[in-house]
């Protein structure tokens, strides 16, 4: 099953957008923080978890999703948000803590909520998995055929919430897909030091549901696996667990000294960069001309640049507005 040309082009352009977004964020986040790194300083303060290298996971799955499908993401959420079609300008404004942000500056980079495209994320590891189960439950109870996807890191597969949620989803045969991004580390802890099984898709068997592993950070292979999972969920066939081997190019957070991995590890990982591989494949297959590809790249860059420009010009919220939004009125 080949990926249709329009889908592959969307995946490529979206991956470019994500990569450029994350690289631009490295710079924006760094503003005002040096010479002596100060996490609270600059236009984008606080923790920053970037997903450069993990683009394939987001696009391989979200290529099958509609705006009425739900995505819950973890603390490293930008790639999922972009692939799900979150309003990039308002997302960026949120990350800059501005009034036009998705959460009017209250949430920040780990807490992005865009109900328009049913996207949310959060800072508590594995907390989004039961939310996806609940979204799928609502979809079923309301007679819809929308599905819910929970993205988590491989470290989160050791949290109770993950296991409770899988059991619930399997028990109630809900349209949920749990996607584990195995980037080999939970902060500093390598997967073999935290996880009793070498790969997490085997854990699906504990709940009697299909489990599939996708190796090599391969968006095309994931596209196919995700297609089956999403189709099954839409048909009422219940949940699927997918683990994707992926690569984290940057630190766990920006400013991470990364004392726990060799410096050349990332150099090596970057050599199998999926974005370049997809580009080459499209050229080789005659799917897109060099001009078309450049136009896509140009468009992706522009959208990102516009989002940052929008965020920067948006005003800061007034202090007193901190008191609003505790309760619905």
């Amino acid at each position: 099953m080949a990926v249709p040309a329009d889908k592959l082009k969307w995946m490529y352009e979206t991956m470019i957008k994500i990569r450029h977004y994350e690289e631009a964020m490295v710079d924006a986040y760094g503003e005002g923080k040096y010479p002596v790194f100060n996490i609270g300083a600059g236009p984008v303060p606080g923790e920053m978890h970037l997903a450069a290298g993990q683009e394939p996971v987001a696009v391989g799955v979200c290529a099958h999703l509609r705006p009425d499908d739900t995505v819950t993401a973890p603390h490293r959420p930008h790639h999922h948000a972009i692939a799900k079609g979150v309003n990039l300008q308002r997302m960026t404004a949120e990350i800059f803590g501005k009034v036009d942000g998705l959460g009017k500056g209250k949430g920040g980079h780990m807490h992005l909520f865009d109900p328009e495209v049913k996207f949310s994320c959060g800072g508590i590891v594995a907390a989004g998995v039961p939310h996806a189960v609940g979204a799928a439950l609502a979809s079923t109870m309301q007679g819809r055929d929308s599905v819910a996807v929970a993205f988590i890191g491989e470290g989160a597969a050791n949290a109770g919430a993950f296991h409770e949620s899988l059991n619930l989803a399997a028990l109630w045969k809900l349209p949920v897909i749990v996607v584990i991004e195995d980037n080999a580390y939970g902060i500093s802890v390598p997967k073999p030091a935290s996880t009793a099984v070498p790969t997490n898709e085997v854990r699906a068997s504990a709940y009697g549901i299909p489990g599939v592993r996708v190796a090599g950070n391969d968006p095309v292979a994931l596209y196919q696996v995700a297609q089956e999972a999403v189709d099954r969920a839409r048909r009422g066939g219940g949940p699927t667990l997918i683990e994707v081997e992926t690569d984290r190019y940057l630190g766990h957070f920006q400013g991470d000294p990364e004392v726990y991995r060799d410096k050349d590890e990332v150099v090596h990982l970057r050599q199998r960069d999926a974005i370049q591989a997809v580009r080459q494949q499209m050229v080789a297959d005659g799917m897109a001309t060099e001009e078309e590809l450049q136009a896509m790249e140009q468009r992706a860059y522009q959208v990102v640049e516009e989002a940052y420009a929008f965020a920067r010009q948006s005003p800061n919220p007034a202090g007193e507005s901190a008191l609003a939004d505790v309760f619905a009125l």
């Binding site: 996490i39 209250k106 949430g107 508590i124 109770g160 919430a161 939970g186 919220p317 505790v326």
Partner: protein, 340 residues
């Protein structure tokens, strides 16, 4: 001038790590478990150097399974070990609160005193650097509310070391909160209070003794951790204007040293309580109620409270600044109170 060991300066994180190291040397039952406590040395540096010194058997990186490893610390403590667990951010309590609230805090009592849990749960608290609602809380009162847990929150490197040592030696479960800004980490805005004199030799600071950190006659300011340091800054400014504030560092929420607070209020007749935790049902309310019970007629003015105004901690700098106490806000409240 000769440099003696008592003049050695350490950051907060190194003070904590040294206390743990010395207790691990002294007592083979002591060990540490938590996320990234090994080679990384703890996200807030509380276990810096321990893995290299004691190895992975006694300094154990755990999966992201807080219910599992905090529960396991309880089980090991009941069997004669003296575990130290680290909950990386206090905000993550939600995923393991049963182990903390229903198990760790209650087992000694439910067993009629027959089961002891000599364990420490250490955790990072505090905001002020835009880490938003799920990573910036102090939650002092959430834990202090529950009978059966000692809850301590030292404000200086000296107290961090001495109180950690006491906590490890205590036969009760102790929740030791260290404040991120007081750890002296290279990646936070540097503040003077995060570095201080720490003797090299082991010593204890008792759990449950408040400390008058500045004497004054005109009003009493009670706080914990950052609010103590903010109060000291405010007090210096008040002093320029002829107002002498007495500042009390509670250091411990449970046990609570009521006497030190009451003695101070009897002297100054005015009380301002400052807290980096939420206002309602919190430490400020507890201190105010206690003083109303024990020293109401010593007060010359109503008690004032300054704390987070019952909203989650927002992300954006302006918003966070609006909700957190700071020296300026303390100064204003204190000045009004002194002139009331």
């Amino acid at each position: 001038m000769s440099v003696t060991s008592t003049q050695r300066m350490l950051t907060g994180n190194k003070a904590v790590a040294e206390a743990i190291a010395q207790e691990m040397e002294r007592d083979p039952r002591v060990f540490v478990m938590g996320e990234d406590v090994g080679r990384y040395g703890g996200i807030f540096g509380a276990t810096e150097g321990l893995f290299q010194r004691f190895g992975g058997e006694r300094v154990r990186d755990t999966p992201i399974s807080e219910t599992g490893f905090i529960g396991a610390a309880i089980g090991a403590a009941a069997e004669g070990m003296r575990p130290i667990g680290e909950l990386m951010f206090v905000d993550f309590f939600g995923v393991c609160m049963d182990q903390i609230y229903n198990q760790m805090a209650k087992i000694h009592y439910m067993s009629g005193g027959n089961v002891r849990l000599p364990m420490v749960l250490m955790t990072a608290v505090g905001g002020g650097y835009s880490d938003a609602a799920q990573h910036s809380q102090t939650l002092y009162a959430t834990f202090a509310h529950m009978p059966g847990l000692k809850v301590v929150a030292p404000a200086t490197p000296y107290d961090l070391k001495g109180m950690m040592t006491s906590a490890i030696r205590d036969d009760n479960p102790v929740l030791l909160m260290f404040h991120k800004q007081l750890q002296g980490l290279g990646w936070m805005a540097p503040i003077d209070a995060s570095v201080g004199v720490v003797p090299e030799e082991p010593y204890t600071v008792p759990l449950g003794q408040a400390k008058v950190v500045r004497e004054g006659r005109d009003l009493t300011i009670v706080g914990l951790q950052m609010s103590v340091h903010w109060a000291l800054t405010a007090a210096a400014r008040l002093a320029d204007e002829g107002i002498e504030a007495e500042v009390v560092d509670l250091r411990s929420l449970v046990p609570l040293d009521k006497q030190t607070v009451v003695n101070s209020v009897r002297k100054t007749h005015r009380l301002l309580v400052v807290d980096e935790d939420y206002l309602s049902y919190g430490m400020t309310a507890e201190i105010a109620a206690m003083v109303a019970e024990q020293a109401l007629y010593d007060l010359d003015a109503p008690i004032r409270r300054l704390a987070v105004p019952d909203v989650p901690i927002p992300y954006s700098h302006n918003l966070e600044k609006f909700v957190l106490p700071n020296p300026e806000k303390i100064y204003k409240q204190a000045k009004e109170l002194a002139e009331q």
